[in-house]
């Protein structure tokens, strides 16, 4: 136990500031203020791998590490679409996942948002469309934000998620990084370099 506490103390606070929302990634209509009020402060995400190579999933996992610390921004991954506000979908959508993706979408309560992640989610990527691939996520369900990249870096995915729940750049100024207000933050918002 002592070693565990020492390691926690030695690691300190490593969480970085949130990136600004990437409005250029938004393809759907901006949300109404009324809905933003509902979603904006505590967002629940259901991730759906609809045919990905698992590369995007590695970067989505990284959002949970202490450096990006998604949860400290009030955003968390949930186990069921019935608990979710936003679907984070990677592609290309395989034909074998088409029904499962539609059902997941239908099971998500309104109002709901969809963020398509990765080049394959955006357009089918290197796999394209074929006998077993539907290609882009938007070929199967409506999409609000597209985050390109192969795979996109965690900050890009985060910027895409934030774009989905932001109405306009002007409004962004008021959004703060909750991590900034965590008690005991004496190390600042930076990653401490590793020392051998």
């Amino acid at each position: 136990m002592l070693k565990t506490l020492q390691q926690i103390a030695r690691t300190g606070m490593v969480t970085e500031a949130l990136p600004p929302p990437a409005d250029e990634m938004r393809v759907g209509e901006a949300l109404e203020a009324r809905i933003l009020e509902l979603l904006g402060r505590a967002l629940c995400i259901r991730q759906v791998d609809a045919g990905s190579c698992n590369g995007c999933e590695l970067e989505i996992h990284a959002l949970g590490n202490p450096i990006y610390s998604l949860e400290s921004a009030g955003i968390r991954f949930v186990a069921s679409p019935r608990h979710a506000d936003l679907l984070l979908v990677t592609g290309p959508v395989s034909r074998h996942m088409e029904v499962a993706l539609r059902r997941t979408y239908d099971a998500t309560p309104d109002p709901k948002l969809v963020v398509a992640v990765g080049d394959c989610g955006a357009c089918g990527g290197i796999f394209g469309e074929g006998y077993a691939s539907c290609g882009a996520v938007s070929n199967v369900i409506p999409v609000d934000v597209v985050v390109p990249g192969c795979p996109p870096a965690p900050t890009r995915i985060l910027a895409g998620i934030l774009a989905a729940i932001s109405r306009s750049p002007a409004q962004l100024g008021s959004r703060t990084n909750p991590a900034r207000h965590l008690p005991g933050d004496r190390h600042g918002m930076r990653v401490k370099a590793l020392e051998p």
């Binding site: 070693k3 999933e57 590695l58 395989s94 074998h96 006998y131 590793l194």
Partner: protein
């Protein structure tokens, strides 16, 4: 009978140590498989193909150190049937079913259920031998015939394809009594996206990019195996610096995945501290890799002829410093994991695959080495630069979750040592030479020990610089069936932990 008499008939078309090619008749196929098994060899890959002027053929890759064998079984009689070897190599069963789904060649295995085909295409169309695939039916869900367990109090739990975490899709059907698992049956194929047919639409000098995306967590292993096959076919010698940079990338991929898994295993064992610590170390590693080599994940780092880019001295220094830090922290964390009684309780004796079962099932790679099966291609069939790298073998014998955790700690330390050795001995010179299109009809195999286990790419050159056929085989094909055995008698809540301790690929398997 022994393997030696087959070797007398083999040719050695590839200028590499340990590789041999052999053609056998359908009537000899089972005999050969039995002789390979008797010599403690393993089946690594199996696929259907169509050879110009000869028609249907089956190809297989066996490994029986100190050699690897590419076997071609010409099925020229037009019956499109071949003798099954599932009683000799159990993992062949699903591979044979996939050969039928994709190529239309049927084995004599009595299990004729589709494996990779669900409802996306009709049973009489074969993506690798039908030119124009019929349009997909409007998605009726298919009705897979799971094996039913009957008896007092037995009920089924169906999980997936969409799982509760950030995990690839697949379906698990548990038959349980109370919380005890009597039987698990896997149903995979959900992320089948037609990779092998897509390969045939690509130029052979571009295929490494698709290979890297067969299983994104093994991008280096697959793209290297692809390039190794291609370079053998076109007789290109990759310069020493390019080879060392590839080994650097492969070991960094292993380190990154092991760090991720060690954190996730701690988390699944109820110790969130482990996830926080190891995921932080992994992020620092990815950032150092990006600084040194330009990408967090090395998807397009390996290319035909060498490496996509060189490593500068500053980049090497950054990597070295980062890895020294990771090693020191990982040592502390290993101590914490070992002293944590709660974790020990979850890990020890959970999800056990004993060495005898592992040998029979043909387990490969990391889970095999946790069950006393020593095969490591970097040591037993070393391709350059591993012939000059002196890899230390890591083996555990208990075959439980704890053994698979310990193997990761051991291999993490060993890979860190190898990276240091690579950085110290990186030869000067070019990091790549120009690639060349191989002769039409030539065949090559690449074999790379990725972080999960042996990755195989079988490549056949088509006309005009196109890919005739490319078959990537992920080691998960051999290990998924073992997971069904590992959970028997365990409780349902331990399944996520056991599953994570194997961490098998869905995308790499489903293709």
């Amino acid at each position: 009978m022994s393997l030696a008499r087959w070797m007398d008939r083999a040719t050695h078309p590839q200028p590499a140590a340990g590789f041999a090619a052999l053609e056998v008749k359908p009537g000899e196929w089972r005999e050969l498989a039995q002789d390979v098994a008797a010599a403690s060899g393993k089946l690594l890959a199996l696929w259907g193909t169509n050879v110009a002027a000869q028609g249907d053929a089956l190809r297989a890759v066996f490994v029986a150190p100190p050699r690897a064998l590419l076997v071609t079984v010409a099925l020229g009689d037009g019956t499109r049937r071949f003798p099954g070897i599932e009683d000799v190599f159990p993992s062949a069963s699903r591979m044979q079913r996939a050969v039928f789904d994709l190529s239309g060649l049927r084995s004599t295995d009595p299990d004729t259920r589709p494996w990779l085909r669900h409802a996306a295409w009709p049973a009489d169309a074969f993506p690798l031998s039908t030119d124009a695939m019929p349009p997909s039916p409007r998605s009726p869900l298919d009705d897979y015939a799971f094996v039913r367990v009957e008896g007092d109090g037995v009920h089924e739990i169906a999980v997936g394809p969409v799982h509760a975490g950030i995990i690839e899709p697949g379906h698990f059907r548990f038959s349980v009594v109370g919380e005890k698992v009597l039987r698990l049956e896997e149903h995979l194929g959900y992320v089948h996206k037609g990779i092998e047919r897509r390969f045939t639409e690509m130029s052979i000098l571009d295929g490494h990019r698709l290979a890297a995306r067969v299983s994104g967590d093994s991008a280096v292993a697959f793209s290297w195996a692809y390039c190794e096959a291609l370079e053998r076919m076109s007789a290109i010698a990759v310069p020493g610096r390019g080879l060392m940079l590839r080994a650097l990338a492969l070991e960094l991929e292993r380190i990154g995945n092991h760090l991720g898994d060690l954190g996730a295993l701690g988390n699944d064992g109820g110790f969130a501290f482990g996830l926080a610590q190891f995921s932080r170390l992994k992020e620092l590693l990815l950032r150092a890799i990006e600084q040194a080599l330009g990408q967090r994940y090395l998807f397009d780092f390996i290319k035909p002829g060498g490496a996509h880019r060189d490593l500068a001295a500053e980049g090497a220094a950054t990597l070295g410093r980062c890895l020294d830090g990771i090693e020191a922290e990982a040592r502390v964390l290993r101590g914490i994991y070992e002293e944590h009684t709660g974790l020990r309780d979850r890990f020890a004796g959970t999800g056990t695959v004993l060495p005898e079962l592992a040998a029979w099932l043909g387990l490969v790679g990391l889970p095999a080495r946790a069950s006393g099966q020593p095969l490591d291609l970097r040591i037993d069939l070393p391709q350059p630069p591993y012939d000059a790298l002196d890899v230390h073998r890591c083996v555990q014998h208990d075959g439980d979750v704890l053994a698979r955790v310990n193997i990761r700690f051991d291999e993490l330390v060993e890979s860190l040592r190898l990276v240091r050795q690579i950085l110290r001995t990186l030869p000067a010179g070019a990091h790549a030479v120009p690639a060349r299109v191989p002769d039409t009809g030539s065949v090559g195999v690449g074999l790379v020990e990725g972080w999960r286990g042996p990755v195989v790419v079988g490549l056949e050159a088509g006309p005009d610089g196109a890919i005739g056929r490319c078959h990537p085989q992920d080691p998960s094909w051999h290990n998924w069936p073992a997971l069904e055995h590992a959970v028997i008698g365990n409780i349902v809540p331990d399944f996520p932990l056991i599953n994570k301790s194997f961490n098998l690929s869905y995308s790499g398997h489903d293709l």
